[in-house]
Amino acid sequence: MGLAFWFTVIPLIAALLILILPKLDKAVYRTIALSGGILTLVLVLAGWFAFDGRTNVVQLAGRIPWFTLPGLWHGHNLVVGLSFGVDGLSLPLATMTAVVGLLALLAVPKDRDRGKENYFWLSLALTGLMAVFTSQDLFTFLVALELVLFAVFFLVYLFGETGHQQAAVKFLIYRGFSTVAFMVALVGLAWAAAGGYAAGNANVSNAVFTLNIPTLTATLHQAVSQWLSPAAASALFLVLLLGVFIEEAFVPFHTWLPTTHEHADTSTNMLIGGVVTKTGAYVLLRFGVGMLPGEVRHWGVMLAVFGVINILYGAFAAWSSKDWRRLIAYSGISHMGLVLLGVAALNSAGLQGAMFMLISSGLLTALLFFLTGAMKDRTTTLTIRSLGGLSKSMPMLSGFLMVAALGSLGLPLTSGFISEIQAFIGGFATYPAISFVGALGVVLSAVYMLYAMERTTFGPTAEGFLQLADARPFEYLPAVVLTGLVLLVGVYPDVIGHLFGLSAQALLRIGG
């Protein structure tokens, strides 16, 4: 069985183990969840060695048949399988999921009241996220999205702060809609591919109805150009795009994200900000660019304009945020706007920049949420106005926060910069005027981040904050790991760059 199969199965086993074990000490559940997380990470890292970086084909694949729908399409059986594998785009994303997931598990307070449930849902969310990024089968993919949806719903619902129930419901409804849109669009794509195949072969009995993603990617653009009417293709794409917009919290469908972040606890925030908000962009790359490149080109101007709107809207909204968590949420929206711009550009720099941005934004958001969470444990508040002078009592945490903030505003030698410049190179190549406006975001990100930093770590220290403790030993691990990765990608981008480059080239070849 392929290695990628176990990326998903290990956390699932951990989750089920936690579920079936009777009432035990919290530490037991913690150990199980952490072991699952560590094992997953080890396997993913092993995956880097097993992965052949010279080609973008799906590797480390594992598949077991799940069920069969007999005679679904012109007498052919549809075999639905649990099918996993990684290519150049999936592997770094899976790695980020494993890292952020493990650190999110670590960030759960040891004395959590309902520890069993927390670890269970977290492990389940990790399972779902892994499956989203490694699925090679549409059915598995959609199931995984649903899994993420309700696991995160429960995490927010059960472990948030005042107002978390409403926030969780908001999350559920929004993301539920996006899943519906994905389901419609993706099944539509599978149907279009089969129809196109049938038309191309003039013999319906040869038609194959498949949910296999690589096969679909290989056959679909032909089907679209030969068989599907332009209106139908556009409709499919727009439905998919609607799902992406909601899933990714793009303006104007973004209001769930700040609300959720404001009310969720630290570990959930790390997971949401780090990984859950990256699935939509993944769908856009995998299914939008990968299967409907013509439509991406056709709607390119609209995508680019929305990208810039997101960059600026997110930045301005972050500027006026009064709470760190809302600020981080909006800065994430701003970053994702850049992803949209890069995708719209539809050239190697743009796509590569978008992929880098997924990783960069994921790492930085998780880091920011971890650090602000650690501060909140001490100061009990994250209202920017009421903080100040934290450098005095917690110099190390403040230092890490500074690195994270600088990464977030795109300082060179952090991952933020390398993503930003590639996305903008792509953007300027295709849409110079729109990108020109978008470049304003580079200044704005400095404005809101440094404004928040000035009010948080600089300035006179309030009386109540003088005696606060700096980072404890176990808090160093997440901070150091995430900071290290941010700097690694920034200093030597080729570490993931060559994989993303292959993926971007492969995606660009699809359109012909």
Binding site: I173, T255, S348, P412, I425, V442, L444, L450
Partner: protein, 634 residues
């Protein structure tokens, strides 16, 4: 030797890593000692590279490794040594070494002494890496890194709210310029297919710099101006100069190193490095010249009336950077760099001397000082050397370089700029001697603070003396005495004369310039040394002008009122829209669902028989449809 030039930036990096490993509690002597020794070694390397290049002008080379692949393009990092780079390496490492030594005394007993040296080492590394960059992307990377170090060092005393604000302001204002550079670099990359200087210049000079939406000539001008916007942000050129005076909130050695000698000169360096591009577009060069001229005058005018010793020197820096830009803008490439070279020494000297004063009296207000000359002989004399050099009095260093620039404006036919330069020169002489007389002569205006004033230890005085010597002799590197060695050295970068012109000495002009400077000094002496003319009276008579100068032409207020306020307004509107319009719609939709549920719940009577009746009629209707519409069921 040239192939070892990478050692120059790497040595401070080693220092940074070493200090980082030592931690925040390391001993002051160890920290400072290691830093000074490593920087000094870096200086020796730079000097060796500089001389090696002088002996064999053709060995300039590029050494690179792959960093990132972007489609078909490979992006490299590495280092390149040209004559310009070699000169910058020497200037940066020399001033750094002296400032490192000085800081040992100045920052003594500061709680975060090791952190201060960490930041400084990181800065020196970044600055040198910037200088030796073989391509625009690497330049931009370290361009931002030096900006970061500047930010961290301005905000070094983080507990001071003014320092925090100043740090933020410096980063954001320079970032505003950096966006221009960012876009410029991207456009250059897209049009020439490479970040490498040589490729870009090749394309620019042969007119091959083209994109589909713009003509090659326009693109050259556009990218030139965008690059200059970046340079203007870093080098505090009008209208992006507002951050530099505020940056004086940082410790004084930082002001000397970063905000006088090196980082702020990076903008000038950038324009010089990109000179073929500017030459290819005459318009861009004209913009550089005029912005430089305006900045030179504006900085000098504001400096006339400031009360804070460091702010006067800061505005002086702005003004002098304007001179350099003007020099480059009128085509005098070598003179612009020559002024950068001399300015680095005499301005660092002025700042360090001011630091020595501040260290002694613990105030920065000129009107609380006075009579310090008796207690601080060395500081007084070295400051005087710096002031004479800045004023452009023969034969101090500033005289040679500034006069070359003024000469170039005249010879190249920019008469307006020539007059601007002369007026600014007059103001320069006046304001710096105003500072000198107010600080070192007359009676102490605040006895309590003067009482304890004394000279610092040798670590502080030795750098002052060395810099004073340099401020005196640095100008001689480009005179008839050595057959104009510096300009010949610099022009070797492009033997074809692509990088501007040089002009023969103009003795009548020299006499005029020195006279202007002496008149300025004389006026300052009459107002502040032997008060023949009352400064207050003059200020009252010219109250409009005085207030304009004292309030820095209200540029801060204009910025706040226009840029910041607009931004905040938009942010507020976005916030309002987000909360009360967009989220309202979302909540209304949610409400709609809820209302629907509330409405429909009344059908839930709990009466089984009612349900059954409805089900019965439902089945009847379905059967009826089946029978009459679809047909064939019965």
């Amino acid at each position: 030797m040239v192939e070892y030039a990478w050692l120059a930036p790497v040595l401070p990096l080693v220092g940074y890593v070493f200090l980082l490993a030592l931690g925040r509690r390391a001993a002051e002597g160890l920290v400072a000692g290691v830093s000074v020794i490593l920087t000094f070694l870096s200086f020796l390397v730079s000097l060796a590279v500089f001389t090696a290049l002088g002996a064999h002008p053709d060995v300039t080379g590029t050494y690179t490794m792959r960093w990132l692949t972007l489609g078909a393009h490979s992006i490299d990092v590495g280092f390149q040594v040209t004559h310009l780079n070699a000169l910058m390496l020497v200037v940066v490492s020399a001033v750094s070494t002296l400032v490192f030594l000085f800081s040992k005394g100045y920052m003594h007993k500061d709680e975060r002494f090791p952190v201060f040296y960490q930041y400084l080492n990181l800065f020196v590394f970044s600055m040198m890496a910037l200088v030796v960059s073989p391509n625009l992307l690497q330049l931009y990377i370290f361009w931002e890194m030096v900006g970061l170090c500047s930010y961290l060092l301005i905000g070094f005393w983080y507990f001071k709210p003014e320092a925090a604000l100043a740090a933020k302001k410096s980063f954001i204002v320079t970032r505003l310029g950096d966006v221009g550079l960012f876009i410029g670099i991207i456009l250059l990359f897209l049009s020439s297919g490479s970040f490498d200087y040589s490729t870009v210049f090749q394309a620019a000079t042969t007119g091959h710099l083209g994109l589909s939406w713009i003509t090659p000539a326009d693109l050259t001008t556009l990218t030139g101006i965008l690059v200059f916007v970046g340079a203007a942000g870093k080098s505090a050129q009008f209208p992006l100069h507002v951050w530099l005076p505020d940056a004086m909130e940082g410790p004084t050695p930082v002001s000397a190193l970063i905000h006088a000698a090196t980082m702020v000169a990076a903008g000038v360096y950038l324009v010089a490095r990109m000179y073929p591009l500017f030459v290819a577009s005459g318009t861009a060069l004209t913009v550089v010249a005029w912005v430089g001229g305006i900045t030179a005058l504006l900085g000098a005018l504001i400096a006339l009336t400031q009360r804070d010793i460091k702010r006067v020197i800061a505005y002086s820096t702005i003004s002098q950077l304007g001179y350099m830009m003007m020099g480059l803008g009128v085509g005098a490439y070598a003179y612009g760099m020559f002024h950068l070279f001399t300015h680095a020494f005499f301005k660092a000297l002025l700042f360090l001397a001011a630091g020595s004063v501040i260290h002694a009296v613990d105030t920065q207000d000129l009107f609380e000082m006075g009579g310090l000359g008796k207690k601080m002989r060395i500081t007084q004399w070295t400051f005087l050397f710096g002031a004479l050099s800045l004023s452009g009095v023969f034969p101090w260093a500033g005289f040679w370089s500034k006069d070359s620039i003024i000469n170039a404006t005249l010879q190249s036919g920019h008469m307006t700029l020539f007059w601007i330069a002369e007026i600014a020169a007059f103001c320069t002489a006046f304001y710096i001697f105003r500072v000198y007389f107010l600080t070192f002569h007359g009676k102490p205006r605040d006895e309590s603070k003067m009482a304890h004033a004394h000279e610092g230890s040798w670590v502080m005085t030795v750098p002052l003396i060395i810099l004073a010597v340099m401020a005196f002799i640095a100008g001689l590197f480009n005179t008839g005495l050595n057959n104009f060695g510096l300009q010949r050295y610099l022009m070797a970068d492009s033997p074809t004369g692509l990088i501007g012109k040089v002009y023969p000495d103009n003795v009548p002009l020299m006499i005029i310039s020195v006279t202007v400077a002496l008149v300025g000094i004389g006026l300052a002496a009459l107002m502040y040394w032997k008060p023949v003319i009352s400064a207050e009276k003059l200020a009252r008579n010219l109250s409009g002008l005085y207030r304009l100068s004292f309030n820095k032409f209200y540029l801060d207020e204009i910025y706040y009122g226009v840029v910041v306020w607009t931004g905040k307004l938009i942010a507020g509107i976005v916030d309002f829209f987000d909360r009360y319009i967009l989220d309202l719609i979302v909540r209304m939709l949610g409400r709609l669902g809820y209302m629907g549920g509330v409405g429909l719940k009344y059908t839930q009577t709990g009466q089984v028989q009612t349900y059954s009746v409805i089900a019965f009629f439902g089945i009847m209707i379905l059967l009826a449809i089946a029978m009459f519409h679809v047909g064939g069921v019965f």
